[in-house]
Symmetry: C2
Subunit: 231 residues, 2 copies
């Protein structure tokens, strides 16, 4: 796990829930997904009960979570929407700028590279790489695809700490090794294979097939006719 530094690090599940609270408050306050921080004045209050309904959990848990990151509510009215947004952003580091390199500018990589919504969360992709020289020079989301040779020099020169890995599974480990060697400490891994990395590096593995497993299982156990029995 992540080494503590003045209090144990927040758990995965809690980070998940914080993200859901954040999204809900954002929506409630009329915030677009692409809202710029501090642009629209956010007023109003949100109660733990509302957040609990949204996240399909319990209001006590919501209050515990918010207390854990230091959001103070007001008895009788709830939590100030603006407070939730501010403290979650601060806790999760969305106000910092996280420069990232993206390796593997295929379809998925291209989709991520051209997605504008990440800026709101502090993610800024500054360079794209691909082993396919055919793609060299393509411009996606404002960045030009570079050849893999440049990987190390770009990472070290810009002090990049985060990498997005969208390459085929069999290339992933070798590229992860190169990235770590160059100074990367966080990898967002979309390749369907686990990576082994030194302990100071964190890998977030987006294993898309897991979602598929869940849906396939549901379809299997509910293998009923498409239309519900009762008219």
């Amino acid at each position: 796990m992540i080494r503590p530094r003045g209090g144990s690090p927040l758990k995965h599940a809690l980070l998940d829930r914080l993200m859901h609270y954040y999204r809900y408050v954002q929506m409630q306050t009329g915030g677009r997904e692409d809202i710029v921080q501090g642009e629209a004045p956010v007023e109003g209050f949100v109660s733990s009960a509302q957040l609990a309904v949204w996240t399909h959990s319990d209001d006590t848990l919501v209050r515990k979570d918010l207390a854990a990151i230091g959001v103070r509510g007001c008895p009788r009215v709830g939590y100030k929407a603006r407070d939730i947004l501010r403290v979650v952003r601060q806790t999760l580091g969305f106000d910092d700028v996280h420069r990232a390199v993206l390796v593997g500018a295929g379809r998925l990589g291209g989709a991520l590279a051209s997605y504008g919504g990440f800026a709101h969360y502090g993610l800024k992709i500054i360079a794209l790489f691909d082993s396919d020289l055919e793609r060299e020079g393509d411009i996606i989301g404002g960045n030009m695809v570079q050849r893999l040779e440049n990987l190390e020099s770009v990472v070290t020169r810009h002090g990049v700490r985060l990498a997005i890995l969208t390459v085929p599974a069999e290339e992933a480990q070798a590229l992860a090794d190169r990235l770590v060697q160059a100074g990367i400490v966080a990898i967002w891994n979309f390749a369907s294979t686990r990576l082994s990395v030194p302990s100071h590096v964190v890998v977030r593995h987006e294993l898309i097939f897991v979602g598929l497993a869940e849906l396939a299982y549901h379809l299997k156990i509910n293998n009923t006719p498409a239309r519900p029995p009762k008219p």
Copy 2:
């Protein structure tokens, strides 16, 4: 939750772990990601300890999980690789064919539509839809993009039960409603918004930002110089 039918349904976390066991055994037995079921003869054994190391969990948990889905091991040697693959496939329904429609043939939708690996898990995308008439007629992964008008007729005519939703957040709910109305009972939702659906419909929500939150948090609490302190 999902309604039970002869024994309670398997939990989300268990399904996740099963998927990881499956992937590990697949790799160990030299299986490519695109291996066709039954093509390569799968021999050899895998122990619960190996699977525990791979999944960063406990060997007792692995044995419990495998017992839960009915895989029997052999004392002294472990579990037959072929058994694990077979039973997981059967449990998760990978051997059934799940026909799906994909709504939203943008970059992400296109990436999913053209990804060949899903066939191994029983997923077969049979139609693509997009509101943008510019995309009508484009061929992605062997399917032609159709206009949204056709959505209901395709779903009902082919008895499709699974839909992949890769549209902007603000369009997602309206499309989910149409899909459910047409007979869809499982939705793989890549839009960054929760969907409200009747209880007989299951939604798997791929909230990509959650992964980002975790990485951003890690970068924040480990805001140290890129190179480790000790040489």
